[in-house]
Symmetry: C2
Subunit: 161 residues, 2 copies
DNA sequence: GTCAGTGCAAACTTTTTGCAACTAC
DNA sequence: GTAGTTGCAAAAAGTTTGCACTGAC
Protein backbone atom coordinates (compact mmCIF):
# COMPACT_ATOMS: atom_id res chain seq x y z
CA UNK A 1 0.00 0.00 0.00
CA UNK A 2 1.51 3.33 -0.98
CA UNK A 3 1.50 6.39 1.26
CA UNK A 4 -1.38 8.17 -0.44
CA UNK A 5 -3.48 5.05 -0.20
CA UNK A 6 -2.70 4.80 3.52
CA UNK A 7 -3.57 8.45 4.07
CA UNK A 8 -6.90 7.97 2.31
CA UNK A 9 -7.69 4.91 4.36
CA UNK A 10 -6.86 6.43 7.75
CA UNK A 11 -8.82 9.51 6.79
CA UNK A 12 -11.82 7.31 6.17
CA UNK A 13 -11.33 5.41 9.44
CA UNK A 14 -11.09 8.70 11.29
CA UNK A 15 -14.23 10.03 9.61
CA UNK A 16 -16.14 6.92 10.65
CA UNK A 17 -14.81 7.24 14.18
CA UNK A 18 -15.83 10.90 14.42
CA UNK A 19 -19.29 10.20 13.05
CA UNK A 20 -19.84 7.19 15.29
CA UNK A 21 -18.94 9.22 18.36
CA UNK A 22 -20.69 12.46 17.49
CA UNK A 23 -17.54 14.53 16.99
CA UNK A 24 -17.18 17.25 14.40
CA UNK A 25 -15.08 16.91 11.27
CA UNK A 26 -12.92 20.01 11.54
CA UNK A 27 -10.11 20.95 9.11
CA UNK A 28 -7.69 21.01 12.06
CA UNK A 29 -8.34 17.35 12.82
CA UNK A 30 -7.74 16.20 9.26
CA UNK A 31 -4.64 18.36 8.89
CA UNK A 32 -3.21 16.84 12.08
CA UNK A 33 -3.96 13.30 10.92
CA UNK A 34 -2.37 13.98 7.54
CA UNK A 35 0.77 15.45 9.10
CA UNK A 36 1.15 12.55 11.53
CA UNK A 37 0.93 10.07 8.67
CA UNK A 38 3.70 11.89 6.85
CA UNK A 39 6.08 11.34 9.78
CA UNK A 40 8.13 8.16 9.89
CA UNK A 41 8.79 6.90 13.41
CA UNK A 42 8.29 8.75 16.66
CA UNK A 43 7.45 12.36 17.32
CA UNK A 44 6.45 14.55 20.24
CA UNK A 45 3.92 17.38 20.38
CA UNK A 46 6.53 20.03 19.68
CA UNK A 47 7.82 18.26 16.59
CA UNK A 48 4.28 17.82 15.33
CA UNK A 49 3.60 21.51 15.93
CA UNK A 50 6.65 22.51 13.85
CA UNK A 51 5.90 20.01 11.08
CA UNK A 52 2.36 21.40 10.71
CA UNK A 53 3.83 24.83 10.06
CA UNK A 54 6.58 23.65 7.70
CA UNK A 55 4.70 21.14 5.63
CA UNK A 56 1.23 22.56 5.51
CA UNK A 57 1.65 26.09 6.81
CA UNK A 58 -1.15 25.19 9.17
CA UNK A 59 -1.06 26.67 12.64
CA UNK A 60 -2.91 24.89 15.43
CA UNK A 61 -2.62 25.44 19.15
CA UNK A 62 -0.92 22.86 21.30
CA UNK A 63 -4.20 22.35 23.16
CA UNK A 64 -5.82 21.20 19.91
CA UNK A 65 -2.92 18.89 19.20
CA UNK A 66 -3.35 17.24 22.58
CA UNK A 67 -7.12 17.00 22.13
CA UNK A 68 -6.90 15.54 18.65
CA UNK A 69 -4.22 13.02 19.55
CA UNK A 70 -6.51 11.58 22.22
CA UNK A 71 -9.18 11.06 19.56
CA UNK A 72 -6.63 9.44 17.24
CA UNK A 73 -5.47 7.11 20.01
CA UNK A 74 -9.07 6.08 20.66
CA UNK A 75 -9.58 5.57 16.93
CA UNK A 76 -6.51 3.28 17.07
CA UNK A 77 -4.65 5.39 14.52
CA UNK A 78 -1.92 6.56 16.89
CA UNK A 79 0.06 4.93 19.70
CA UNK A 80 1.50 6.77 22.67
CA UNK A 81 4.88 6.05 24.25
CA UNK A 82 6.59 7.47 27.29
CA UNK A 83 10.32 7.07 26.91
CA UNK A 84 11.80 10.15 28.45
CA UNK A 85 10.49 13.46 29.68
CA UNK A 86 7.83 14.14 27.07
CA UNK A 87 5.33 11.75 25.53
CA UNK A 88 6.19 10.30 22.15
CA UNK A 89 3.64 9.23 19.58
CA UNK A 90 3.67 7.26 16.37
CA UNK A 91 1.16 6.36 13.70
CA UNK A 92 -0.06 2.80 14.10
CA UNK A 93 -2.10 1.98 10.98
CA UNK A 94 -0.26 -0.19 8.49
CA UNK A 95 2.98 -0.10 10.45
CA UNK A 96 4.86 -3.29 11.19
CA UNK A 97 4.87 -4.35 14.81
CA UNK A 98 8.23 -3.41 16.26
CA UNK A 99 10.06 -3.17 19.55
CA UNK A 100 12.24 -0.45 21.01
CA UNK A 101 15.84 -0.33 22.07
CA UNK A 102 16.59 2.64 24.28
CA UNK A 103 20.11 3.69 25.13
CA UNK A 104 20.28 4.55 28.83
CA UNK A 105 23.20 6.86 28.22
CA UNK A 106 22.41 8.97 25.16
CA UNK A 107 18.64 8.30 25.06
CA UNK A 108 18.65 7.20 21.45
CA UNK A 109 15.65 5.06 20.50
CA UNK A 110 16.00 2.41 17.81
CA UNK A 111 13.25 0.20 16.47
CA UNK A 112 13.72 -3.43 15.59
CA UNK A 113 11.53 -6.27 14.41
CA UNK A 114 11.50 -9.86 15.56
CA UNK A 115 8.74 -12.17 14.46
CA UNK A 116 9.48 -14.81 17.06
CA UNK A 117 9.35 -12.34 19.89
CA UNK A 118 6.15 -10.87 18.50
CA UNK A 119 4.50 -14.29 18.38
CA UNK A 120 5.65 -15.09 21.92
CA UNK A 121 4.08 -11.91 23.28
CA UNK A 122 0.88 -12.16 21.29
CA UNK A 123 0.29 -15.79 22.22
CA UNK A 124 0.67 -15.09 25.95
CA UNK A 125 -2.49 -15.95 27.79
CA UNK A 126 -3.66 -13.07 29.92
CA UNK A 127 -6.06 -13.74 32.71
CA UNK A 128 -8.98 -11.39 32.98
CA UNK A 129 -7.47 -8.82 30.64
CA UNK A 130 -8.51 -7.75 27.18
CA UNK A 131 -5.36 -6.93 25.20
CA UNK A 132 -5.35 -3.83 23.03
CA UNK A 133 -1.66 -3.25 22.27
CA UNK A 134 1.73 -3.59 23.88
CA UNK A 135 5.18 -2.02 24.06
CA UNK A 136 8.47 -3.71 24.71
CA UNK A 137 11.28 -1.38 25.75
CA UNK A 138 14.77 -2.78 25.93
CA UNK A 139 17.24 -0.64 27.84
CA UNK A 140 20.97 -0.81 27.54
CA UNK A 141 23.94 0.77 25.81
CA UNK A 142 24.03 1.47 22.11
CA UNK A 143 27.24 0.60 20.29
CA UNK A 144 28.43 4.21 20.30
CA UNK A 145 28.06 4.72 24.06
CA UNK A 146 29.40 1.26 24.76
CA UNK A 147 32.58 2.09 22.84
CA UNK A 148 32.83 5.48 24.53
CA UNK A 149 32.66 3.82 27.94
CA UNK A 150 35.39 1.31 27.12
CA UNK A 151 37.64 4.14 26.09
CA UNK A 152 37.02 5.88 29.40
CA UNK A 153 37.83 2.78 31.42
CA UNK A 154 41.06 2.28 29.51
CA UNK A 155 42.05 5.77 30.52
CA UNK A 156 41.60 4.72 34.15
CA UNK A 157 39.06 7.43 34.63
CA UNK A 158 37.08 6.50 37.70
CA UNK A 159 34.92 9.61 37.86
CA UNK A 160 31.35 9.32 36.64
CA UNK A 161 28.73 11.80 35.54
CA UNK B 1 16.38 -14.76 51.24
CA UNK B 2 14.36 -12.91 53.90
CA UNK B 3 13.73 -9.21 53.84
CA UNK B 4 16.39 -8.25 56.39
CA UNK B 5 18.95 -10.22 54.51
CA UNK B 6 18.01 -8.43 51.31
CA UNK B 7 18.22 -5.04 52.98
CA UNK B 8 21.68 -5.85 54.32
CA UNK B 9 22.85 -6.97 50.90
CA UNK B 10 21.58 -3.96 48.99
CA UNK B 11 23.03 -1.69 51.65
CA UNK B 12 26.39 -3.28 51.02
CA UNK B 13 26.03 -3.01 47.25
CA UNK B 14 25.12 0.66 47.62
CA UNK B 15 28.08 1.30 49.91
CA UNK B 16 30.42 -0.24 47.37
CA UNK B 17 28.85 1.81 44.62
CA UNK B 18 29.21 5.05 46.58
CA UNK B 19 32.81 4.32 47.48
CA UNK B 20 33.73 3.33 43.93
CA UNK B 21 32.31 6.56 42.59
CA UNK B 22 33.54 8.95 45.24
CA UNK B 23 30.10 9.76 46.68
CA UNK B 24 29.45 10.36 50.36
CA UNK B 25 27.62 7.92 52.59
CA UNK B 26 24.92 10.12 54.07
CA UNK B 27 22.17 8.97 56.45
CA UNK B 28 19.59 10.30 53.95
CA UNK B 29 20.82 7.94 51.25
CA UNK B 30 20.65 4.87 53.45
CA UNK B 31 17.26 5.83 54.86
CA UNK B 32 15.91 6.19 51.31
CA UNK B 33 17.34 2.84 50.24
CA UNK B 34 15.87 1.15 53.31
CA UNK B 35 12.43 2.67 52.74
CA UNK B 36 12.41 1.69 49.08
CA UNK B 37 13.24 -1.90 49.96
CA UNK B 38 10.31 -1.99 52.37
CA UNK B 39 7.88 -1.13 49.56
CA UNK B 40 6.38 -3.96 47.54
CA UNK B 41 5.73 -3.08 43.92
CA UNK B 42 5.71 0.36 42.35
CA UNK B 43 5.89 3.77 43.95
CA UNK B 44 6.32 7.37 42.86
CA UNK B 45 8.30 10.16 44.51
CA UNK B 46 5.32 11.40 46.49
CA UNK B 47 4.55 7.97 47.92
CA UNK B 48 8.18 7.54 48.87
CA UNK B 49 8.19 10.94 50.56
CA UNK B 50 5.15 9.98 52.66
CA UNK B 51 6.49 6.52 53.51
CA UNK B 52 9.75 8.04 54.79
CA UNK B 53 7.77 10.14 57.23
CA UNK B 54 5.41 7.36 58.32
CA UNK B 55 7.83 4.50 58.66
CA UNK B 56 11.00 6.18 59.77
CA UNK B 57 9.89 9.66 60.74
CA UNK B 58 12.65 10.81 58.43
CA UNK B 59 12.08 13.96 56.43
CA UNK B 60 14.01 14.48 53.21
CA UNK B 61 13.39 17.02 50.50
CA UNK B 62 12.03 15.92 47.17
CA UNK B 63 15.23 17.17 45.53
CA UNK B 64 17.22 14.67 47.57
CA UNK B 65 14.81 11.89 46.69
CA UNK B 66 15.32 12.62 43.00
CA UNK B 67 19.09 12.83 43.41
CA UNK B 68 19.35 9.62 45.37
CA UNK B 69 17.10 7.65 43.06
CA UNK B 70 19.41 8.44 40.17
CA UNK B 71 22.30 6.96 42.15
CA UNK B 72 20.23 3.89 42.99
CA UNK B 73 19.32 3.41 39.34
CA UNK B 74 23.00 3.60 38.39
CA UNK B 75 23.82 1.14 41.16
CA UNK B 76 21.19 -1.15 39.58
CA UNK B 77 19.15 -1.28 42.77
CA UNK B 78 16.13 0.55 41.39
CA UNK B 79 14.28 0.51 38.06
CA UNK B 80 12.37 3.43 36.62
CA UNK B 81 9.07 3.16 34.75
CA UNK B 82 6.99 5.75 32.97
CA UNK B 83 3.42 4.55 32.85
CA UNK B 84 1.33 7.65 33.24
CA UNK B 85 1.94 11.22 34.28
CA UNK B 86 4.60 10.72 36.93
CA UNK B 87 7.56 8.36 36.95
CA UNK B 88 7.17 5.14 38.83
CA UNK B 89 10.01 3.25 40.46
CA UNK B 90 10.52 -0.18 41.94
CA UNK B 91 13.33 -2.01 43.72
CA UNK B 92 15.12 -4.39 41.40
CA UNK B 93 17.44 -6.48 43.54
CA UNK B 94 16.14 -10.00 44.22
CA UNK B 95 12.77 -9.34 42.59
CA UNK B 96 11.32 -11.82 40.14
CA UNK B 97 11.23 -10.63 36.56
CA UNK B 98 7.69 -9.59 35.77
CA UNK B 99 5.66 -7.83 33.13
CA UNK B 100 3.02 -5.15 33.38
CA UNK B 101 -0.63 -5.02 32.40
CA UNK B 102 -1.94 -1.48 32.26
CA UNK B 103 -5.64 -0.72 31.99
CA UNK B 104 -6.11 2.05 29.45
CA UNK B 105 -9.34 3.12 31.11
CA UNK B 106 -8.71 3.21 34.89
CA UNK B 107 -4.90 3.21 34.75
CA UNK B 108 -4.55 0.25 37.08
CA UNK B 109 -1.20 -1.54 36.77
CA UNK B 110 -0.97 -5.26 37.46
CA UNK B 111 2.17 -7.36 37.43
CA UNK B 112 2.32 -10.86 36.08
CA UNK B 113 4.97 -13.48 35.50
CA UNK B 114 5.47 -15.71 32.54
CA UNK B 115 8.60 -17.80 32.23
CA UNK B 116 8.14 -18.56 28.57
CA UNK B 117 7.77 -14.91 27.67
CA UNK B 118 10.77 -14.02 29.78
CA UNK B 119 12.93 -16.61 28.01
CA UNK B 120 11.73 -15.40 24.61
CA UNK B 121 12.73 -11.83 25.39
CA UNK B 122 16.03 -12.66 27.01
CA UNK B 123 17.12 -14.96 24.22
CA UNK B 124 16.46 -12.34 21.55
CA UNK B 125 19.62 -11.49 19.71
CA UNK B 126 20.21 -7.77 19.68
CA UNK B 127 22.56 -6.36 17.13
CA UNK B 128 25.05 -3.83 18.41
CA UNK B 129 23.27 -3.34 21.72
CA UNK B 130 24.30 -4.29 25.22
CA UNK B 131 21.14 -5.23 27.14
CA UNK B 132 20.77 -3.97 30.67
CA UNK B 133 17.08 -4.49 31.44
CA UNK B 134 13.71 -4.38 29.76
CA UNK B 135 10.07 -3.57 30.34
CA UNK B 136 7.04 -5.08 28.68
CA UNK B 137 3.86 -3.05 29.00
CA UNK B 138 0.61 -4.64 27.90
CA UNK B 139 -2.25 -2.22 27.42
CA UNK B 140 -5.92 -3.10 27.39
CA UNK B 141 -8.98 -3.29 29.56
CA UNK B 142 -9.01 -4.84 33.01
CA UNK B 143 -11.95 -7.10 33.85
CA UNK B 144 -13.67 -4.37 35.85
CA UNK B 145 -13.59 -1.75 33.07
CA UNK B 146 -14.42 -4.35 30.46
CA UNK B 147 -17.58 -5.27 32.36
CA UNK B 148 -18.44 -1.60 32.90
CA UNK B 149 -18.20 -0.97 29.15
CA UNK B 150 -20.46 -3.88 28.29
CA UNK B 151 -23.06 -2.54 30.66
CA UNK B 152 -22.89 0.83 28.95
CA UNK B 153 -23.35 -0.63 25.49
CA UNK B 154 -26.37 -2.62 26.62
CA UNK B 155 -27.93 0.64 27.70
CA UNK B 156 -27.52 1.87 24.12
CA UNK B 157 -25.46 4.76 25.30
CA UNK B 158 -23.54 5.95 22.26
CA UNK B 159 -21.87 8.94 23.89
CA UNK B 160 -18.24 8.60 24.87
CA UNK B 161 -16.03 10.49 27.33
C1' DG C 1 38.72 22.75 56.90
C1' DT C 2 36.79 21.56 52.53
C1' DC C 3 33.60 20.46 49.27
C1' DA C 4 29.78 17.15 48.29
C1' DG C 5 25.17 16.88 49.71
C1' DT C 6 20.92 18.80 51.57
C1' DG C 7 16.71 21.81 51.99
C1' DC C 8 14.20 25.37 50.20
C1' DA C 9 12.13 28.05 46.84
C1' DA C 10 12.11 29.50 42.34
C1' DA C 11 12.35 28.09 37.64
C1' DC C 12 11.29 25.16 33.98
C1' DT C 13 8.76 21.77 31.11
C1' DT C 14 4.91 19.33 29.71
C1' DT C 15 0.11 18.85 29.88
C1' DT C 16 -4.54 20.33 31.32
C1' DT C 17 -8.17 23.64 32.02
C1' DG C 18 -11.35 27.80 31.79
C1' DC C 19 -13.28 30.92 28.87
C1' DA C 20 -14.44 33.83 24.88
C1' DA C 21 -14.73 33.51 19.96
C1' DC C 22 -15.66 30.65 16.11
C1' DT C 23 -17.82 27.26 13.03
C1' DA C 24 -19.63 22.53 11.64
C1' DC C 25 -23.90 20.79 11.70
C1' DG D 1 -29.06 28.85 16.05
C1' DT D 2 -26.43 26.02 19.03
C1' DA D 3 -23.37 23.11 20.95
C1' DG D 4 -18.79 21.16 19.97
C1' DT D 5 -14.03 23.07 18.92
C1' DT D 6 -10.43 26.14 18.84
C1' DG D 7 -6.89 29.46 20.60
C1' DC D 8 -5.08 31.72 24.27
C1' DA D 9 -3.46 32.31 28.69
C1' DA D 10 -3.41 30.73 33.17
C1' DA D 11 -2.98 26.79 36.10
C1' DA D 12 -1.45 22.38 37.40
C1' DA D 13 1.80 18.66 37.96
C1' DG D 14 6.34 16.77 37.98
C1' DT D 15 11.07 17.59 37.89
C1' DT D 16 15.29 20.39 37.86
C1' DT D 17 18.16 24.11 39.39
C1' DG D 18 20.53 27.91 42.14
C1' DC D 19 22.12 29.06 46.41
C1' DA D 20 23.13 29.21 51.34
C1' DC D 21 23.88 26.05 54.99
C1' DT D 22 25.40 21.61 56.84
C1' DG D 23 28.09 17.64 57.80
C1' DA D 24 30.98 13.48 55.86
C1' DC D 25 35.51 12.88 54.97
Amino acid sequence: MDIQNIKDTVRQIFTEYLTANGHRKTPERYAILETIYSIEGHFDIDTLYSKMMEQKNFRVSRATLYNTIILLINARLVIKHQFGASSQYERSYNRETHHHQICTQCGKVTEFQNGELQRAIESTKLSRFQLSHYSLYIYGLCSKCSRANKRKKTNNNKKEK
